[in-house]
């Protein structure tokens, strides 16, 4: 691990001031990192993938609250631990898909450390990104993508570019996408709100840019809108092991059926996209339809229509389709 200067901060404004490249002097913005749970950042620092000159310890900032919003919805602080979020009564009762997604990810120890903000910024598990001995456009722009002609079994089939096919590894982000979360950030230039679908960027020609966060901006909290009354939610994760493994394909489904027709539907996919993948194509096929196997199949076909596979990950098309169909079936089963 490269040496770094560690800064302890007591409040959000101190954290933002410390991350301001103009004020911090020695370190430029790309070499400053906020440290919360550490489960991604320290892992990558040990591998020399992350080499920040300055690390700002934010894990004890007062951003650890989960609060119901008057009139519906919930505010989730950036430093709320994944385990606390997953087991919170309000999340379990009103946002079950988020609870299920969180509990399907990582291990109990990691969930006790990992935070909401950190999980949003979780980096890809592409083996070439994690290996500084190999070219990687995300880690070192312009060096090339080792995965496209290499080990790509676990990598993305939706949203890829010729420069990067890395998968977003998070389960939480998939559920948050289906729940249409809003990310609240704060920087020296003030506060901003970013819809989760705009928060994550496609790799295109700049795979090193993964989010729309500006240098020095801090995620302070996430808000979820009030759930549609009478909806059903399911997170289904398919993987190589039954536990403690990243998704090969996953689906978060929020659905409401009234009088035999689907009148509310949100579908997001994990394990197959370069970002948490909202499938408006699948949603369009389902809205107004009867919730049956034919409709689910048509929706899954639509979701994967733009898939672009590599030498080893072609199986993900069929896997993702079945994942969507099964998740929809589970969500619409009469209890």
């Amino acid at each position: 691990m490269e040496p770094f200067q560690l800064k302890r901060v007591a409040n959000v404004s101190q954290a933002i001031d410390s991350a301001n490249p103009a004020a911090s002097g020695q370190a430029n913005s790309t070499s400053i990192r906020f440290l919360a749970g550490g489960t991604t950042l320290l892992d990558l620092m040990k591998l020399d993938v992350e080499r920040p000159a300055q690390v700002i310890d934010i894990h004890r900032l007062p951003l650890d609250q989960i609060e119901a919003i008057d009139g519906g919805g919930v505010t989730i602080g950036a430093t709320v631990r994944n385990s606390d979020l997953a087991n919170h009564p309000l999340i379990k009762s009103h946002y079950a898909v988020l609870s299920q997604a969180l509990l399907s990810g990582a291990s109990a120890q990691l969930r006790n450390m990992a935070t909401t903000g950190g999980n949003l910024l979780q980096r890809t598990r592409c083996v070439y990104f994690r290996d500084t001995a190999t070219p990687c456009n995300k880690r070192e722009p312009g060096t090339g993508c080792s995965a496209i002609d290499g080990f790509n079994r676990n990598l993305a089939i939706l949203g890829t570019s010729e420069h990067c096919i890395a998968t977003n590894p998070s389960d939480m982000n998939v559920a948050m996408t289906a729940l249409e979360a809003t990310i609240h950030v704060e920087g020296v230039q003030g506060k901003r709100e970013i819809g989760i679908d705009d928060f994550f960027l496609l790799p295109g020609n700049t795979p090193e840019r993964e989010t729309s966060l500006k240098p020095g901006e801090l995620i302070t909290h996430v808000t979820l809108p009030a759930p549609v009354p009478g909806n059903r939610m399911v997170y289904l994760k398919l993987r190589d092991r039954a536990s403690y493994e990243f998704a090969l394909a996953s689906a978060a489904v929020v659905i409401k059926v009234s009088a035999g027709k689907i009148d509310h539907i949100r579908i997001a996919l994990g394990g197959v996209g370069v970002k948490p993948w909202r499938s408006k194509e699948a949603e369009a096929r389902l809205l107004g339809q009867a919730p049956d196997a034919a409709a689910f199949r048509a929706a899954s076909e639509a979701a994967l229509q733009s898939a672009h596979v590599q030498s080893q990950n072609g199986f993900k098309i069929e896997l993702a389709k079945r994942c969507i169909q099964h998740a929809l079936t589970l969500a619409t089963q009469t209890a």
Binding site: M1, P3, F4, Q5, L6, R8, L35, G37, G38, T39, L42, D43, K46, V55, D57, H59, S83, N87, A106, S107, A108, Q109, L110, N112, M113, A242, S243, Y244
Partner: protein
């Protein structure tokens, strides 16, 4: 380190138990320190720590690179307070093992994938390898050494013995720390629930069946 971590709350006249009956580790450590102490400041401080002397203010490690920043931190481990001056890069795991010589906590993968380094921070299980020691000021850290002692084992330690919940033993302290934390977590009652809850602790010997049996015995009792 600021004082003898093996007996931080005793006076210099009290013989440290570890010196009365040398363990394989303490013997090897002392021989190693005595053999190479000359010429390296850091190992010199190790040699001091292994003697009966109480050192209040150890000099910063002299072999630290010029641009690495040492930081002061007060850690609370197993109910004892330690004042440390350590490289900010030091993980909680390395701090426990190399600075406080609490070697019950094991280093396996060092990347949060195996669970051998599991300790409790404020009562919750975490991977100590993915955590910087200097970020744990004033938090209550518990290691396997703080759980029970020979003759006064924690019930979970006794259950692991009774059920043969280990073979080589390397993952065992992490398994037990995880299992004890699990008792307070909202998991279901079945063996499958225990397997899911314990999936962050890998046992290369494959003692899983007996580990589950040991944990279930204690869960039924609690």
């Amino acid at each position: 380190m600021s004082k003898d971590p093996q007996k931080p709350d005793t006076t210099a006249d009290d013989p440290a138990p570890v010196l009365e009956r040398p363990t394989r580790r303490s013997f090897l450590t002392r021989v190693g320190a005595a053999g190479v102490a000359i010429g390296t400041g850091q190992l010199h401080s190790v040699a001091l720590a292994e003697s009966d002397a109480t050192v209040e203010d150890a000099p910063p490690a002299s072999n630290a690179s010029a641009d690495s920043a040492n930081m002061h931190v007060r850690l609370n481990v197993n109910g004892t307070s330690y004042d440390l001056d350590i490289d900010s890069r030091t993980t909680l795991l390395d701090c426990l093992r190399e600075h406080l010589h609490l070697t019950g906590t094991k280093k396996g993968c060092d990347h949060g994938q195996c669970g051998a380094c599991t300790v409790h921070v404020d009562g919750r299980r975490v991977n100590s390898c993915l955590s910087l020691a200097v970020t744990h000021e004033d938090e209550a850290i518990t290691t396997i050494e703080g759980l029970g002692k020979p003759g006064a084992l924690h019930p979970m330690q006794a259950a692991f013995l009774e059920h043969d919940g280990f073979q080589c033993g390397y993952c065992t302290s992490g398994q037990i720390m995880s299992a004890v934390a699990l008792l307070k977590e909202p998991y279901g009652h079945s063996d499958d629930d225990v397997k899911e809850a314990m999936s962050g602790n890998i046992c290369r010997c494959g003692a899983y069946t007996n580990i589950v049996a040991a944990i279930q015995q204690i869960r039924r009792r609690v």
